[in-house]
Symmetry: D2
Subunit: 342 residues, 4 copies
């Protein structure tokens, strides 16, 4: 049986990634694509790499026919998303890829995003979309909130360690390398090839990145007390991928065992043998997350390193994984493609 899905905001990178993934999904059909600034255009004119597919033309959200649609992916910019989702038919299943429903607490939302939430009742209803940890709730959810891509990477490395108490909660330092597609298709000077290629720099230094809101919310909930991590992201000259290098206080072997146990049955999370660590090159364009653990020369400390593709496991792949659950399909359907190397 085929389920019909629509994608709102199909002219951005996460929208295009959804189309790429659904293109070979055996149980889903795309019946609607919106892109307000490009309404009327054929998808092949916006994304020529999708030329071979028989896709609906882009429309405005208003003009989209949602009858017969089982699930909507909402890949709109944050802030836009909350208003649009509020107005959608209440029987529609929704996977939101924006930042709008990641934080459950209206005060936290306002702190990190700078204005009050426009749909606090939906905020309450939304399930946080980190599939491996919210699987049962996602299965029955109507609205699932995709996680931040950096937030997902850090959580895959740290949640089992915080839950089991094998690391010091007051001594967690996340340094992260982020490829540029995480910033979207926005026309900004620092995203130009001439500015980024052969360059690298930190950003949101000092604890100002919005994904910290997710770390705070999730880690504190797991620990049952406030947890505040350090987090310094860096922009590197690559298109896809995130690598988080996390310095923690704890026994490396115990940490490795804890992660191995936690993810033993997970289809997409690969814990590498003790001492090995991942590369963004080895998860590219796939839904896999690789995690490694290495003991530090300073006794009682370890480096935990996690890597995933921000556009796939970090957003659109995660969204599809959640959609599979919400539609009663096998969780891995359409997502088992191997990473693209080199």
């Amino acid at each position: 049986m085929t389920h019909n899905v629509a994608i709102l905001g199909a002219s951005g990178y996460t929208g295009a990634e959804l189309v790429r993934l659904i293109a070979t999904h055996p149980s889903l059909a795309i019946t609607g694509l919106s892109g307000n600034s490009k309404a009327g255009m054929a998808m092949a004119d916006v994304f020529p790499h999708l030329r071979h597919l028989d896709l609906p033309r882009l429309t405005t959200i208003e003009d989209m026919d949602l009858s017969g649609v089982d699930l909507v992916f909402c890949a709109l910019p944050h802030a836009t998303s909350q208003a649009v989702i509020k107005a959608l038919p209440s029987n529609l299943k929704i996977v939101d890829l924006s930042a709008d429903f990641r934080l459950r607490d209206p005060a936290a939302y306002e702190k990190w995003y700078g204005k009050p939430h426009a749909a606090p009742e939906l905020q309450k209803e939304a399930v946080y979309g980190l599939t491996e940890f919210y699987r049962d709730q996602i299965r029955t959810a109507r609205l699932v909130a995709g996680t931040g891509c950096n937030a997902a990477t850090g959580q895959y490395a740290l949640r089992p360690l915080i839950a089991t108490g094998v690391i010091d909660l007051d001594d967690i330092n996340i340094n992260l390398l982020a490829a540029v597609s995480g910033a979207g298709r926005a026309l900004k000077e620092n995203l130009l090839h001439a500015e980024l290629s052969e360059g690298a720099h930190a950003y949101a230094v000092g604890g100002t990145h919005r994904h910290l809101g997710e770390f705070d919310q999730e880690f504190s909930a797991i620990a049952g007390r406030d947890v505040r991590v350090q987090f310094t992201p860096h922009l590197i000259p690559a298109n896809r991928g995130i690598l988080a290098t996390i310095s923690v206080k704890g026994d490396a072997a115990t940490i490795h065992q804890t992660l191995s146990d936690a993810y033993a049955k997970e289809p997409f999370i690969e814990v590498l043998p003790m001492g090995q660590h991942p590369s963004i090159k080895h998860i590219r364009a796939s839904n896999f997350c690789h995690i490694g653990v290495v003991a530090d020369r300073i006794a009682g400390r370890a480096q935990v390193i996690a890597s995933l593709d921000n556009l796939t496991k970090g957003s659109s792949g995660q969204a599809l994984q959640n959609a599979n659950l919400m539609l009663g399909l096998p969780e891995t359907e359409g997502l088992m493609m191997a990473p693209v190397f080199p």
Copy 2:
């Protein structure tokens, strides 16, 4: 029904690409992987991006158990391939990805490769693997010779034009941009990141590239007379993809129509609307080939531009497409994944 396949030379890029493609192919199972210099290693240690797959360990070719194997992909270096294939059981179907069986004429082989062929009888038997033009022969072949990746790109643009006589056969100039994976995983100074990134240069200038042997053979056969094209490849700082810009003498509209007609029913060849032209970014990691035609300001001349991924449509994807035919499977099986963008 599942067919068992083995890959000889699985530690190179085309070998890894075959594994990537076959990983989600519904009708093929990999039962053997060889890699002489890395025999004994797990594939995940050679290619960590394949870590999630349950693959046989690498062996030497001698140690590989070929009983139960239906088809062998031979991704060995050229010259090695002819000796190995000669020694394989004669009932095995073989798709060779090396240069060894592309040229039918022993004299042409010796001219372009610098020494006599070691298995001229197999050379005679081998079918040239440009699927869209040798489909019927491939279906019943025992040995199929994968084409050169540059040779494939140029032929997709030119074969229908030469066959129909709509261009001047003595005025064809192919300029080509090639990404670096086409050179394989060889340890050469000019393939280092520090040497290639931010660089670009021509190579094999003046008509010395071996893929010219294929152009000469195929174009002359189609035309029924000698055809000698100009061909200047350039190495660019990218990992995957080929873009051939071909200056021809002929009417642009006629050329576009001829190509559109020729490929109307082909699942992997996309002729763009008149005046549009392709980018290597739009076919990456896929089995698609995009072709565009633009009229030149000089009356009676046109630019024909074709692009494909050297590792997929240019070698391993082509090989799988041919294997599908040889095994009686649907030609497109396992090959319809959309390009990866960005």
Copy 3:
């Protein structure tokens, strides 16, 4: 003796490159910098790589004090330039880096740039800034028009060949690879890192690139008859550099000799030994141009390949070379830095 110079349009790449070059020039001092959209900012805030220099703050053009200024570099967008230059004091020496004064014929300007020229009398006065060929006129000029960067590359390869008649004037095909800084700091989707990195495509295909106006003007003037070349530029994923591969009809040895003779005494033009050819990696960030000649396998044809850095020899370095001449300084002053490799 120090000459005072000002730079109009200092917030773009060519402006920044001028500052970089002048920073170590022994005889020039920068006394004014304009950048209308960034007026009031310190140069270090617009270009942090220039932080160590003691530079004037950016102003509007109107607010710039030109008293005491000997020469102005005008690095404004084309069309803007002609109006600004028209309004400058008539005793000021001017090196213009825009496209506004490259074409001498008002009709040609209108054809290639789509509207009538606003200062046709200046258009007549301006000297074409290809230093090696207009040296004497530049020395005494008041207004020098910087050439197109692609136009410069093609001319270095072809002018001596056209002048001496050693190639067929009706069979010249220029294929060119261009790095992205040639497109400036404009916020366009196709210039984003995510869109260009790992990508490559042709542009202005079929003879629509504006630099063809310069080829037409210059080559026809040299030949004393209309010359119309083919020209297909390609955008490659690199920041600096141009490589032009030119297919010509003529004897390779004669061509090589002609070029060697023509440039024997030129400080910045290096003709490589016969059979060798250049790379953009070998001229990066320098004022050098490398040229190579290779005979083609097709008798009587040759490939001539030229490479230079679009920001240096292709624009700001050329501008400084011309300014040196106009100010009576040694032509090579401040320009002999070696290319940056790797």
Copy 4:
């Protein structure tokens, strides 16, 4: 007055960078170049970007005429360097760019480099080449040991902070991004463009990088007690540049003031305004080091970020700066070129 210098090991990247810098140095002349594996070749054949220079041909070290040479740059691989330098005439001034004389303690050398030192008496004599902190000793030294490029970056950020005690010595975590030229021109699989471009990964994780030997030696000497930092380098897809992000415990404003004071008169060290931080793009191909300080959201913590070009300020530029001092020349001579951007 011109001083004659020779470069041993001129066929590697640091050797070529030395030639690039000396090319426009007003007081130095290169009279000898060695490169054992490429002896007999012209430098232009090894490094075509140096083609315009009139350079001596490469020789073996044995065949090099050192009479008349005032100073030798030794850019040989580590371990080789100690034997070669031991055999040089004892009146020659030497700047060594290898790792051989960075560690003063023979036991520390053996620990980090795996074998006993072959010239312990020279090890004692050598002055550590971090110019800004060893200036007086360098002026009169016969043998100066160039620092590790990563080690230099970390020390510029931390030395003044350790010396003044404004940070907790037991809580220093250095995460570092390193471009690939730091690994030299070695033919290794992980340095290939196809393996590194679009990739990023940590290396020497857990405190095994040899530059830790320098951190331990220098920081402990300054503090007067053992100091052991955490250090995790990452390889990123860029050719030049290092960015070190260092998490420290201390007051951000005090840290910033301490660094500003320490470097107020230094020509090459730029401390950015409070809250700003550097990019490798802004120091490329120059001898400058940029340092920034940002307060962390976790009270009492700060991020100190430093960036320099590994080939220039991190090795060959540093070497030239030291040579200037040793030869009684102005320290900045030949080194004030602005960074290359974009």
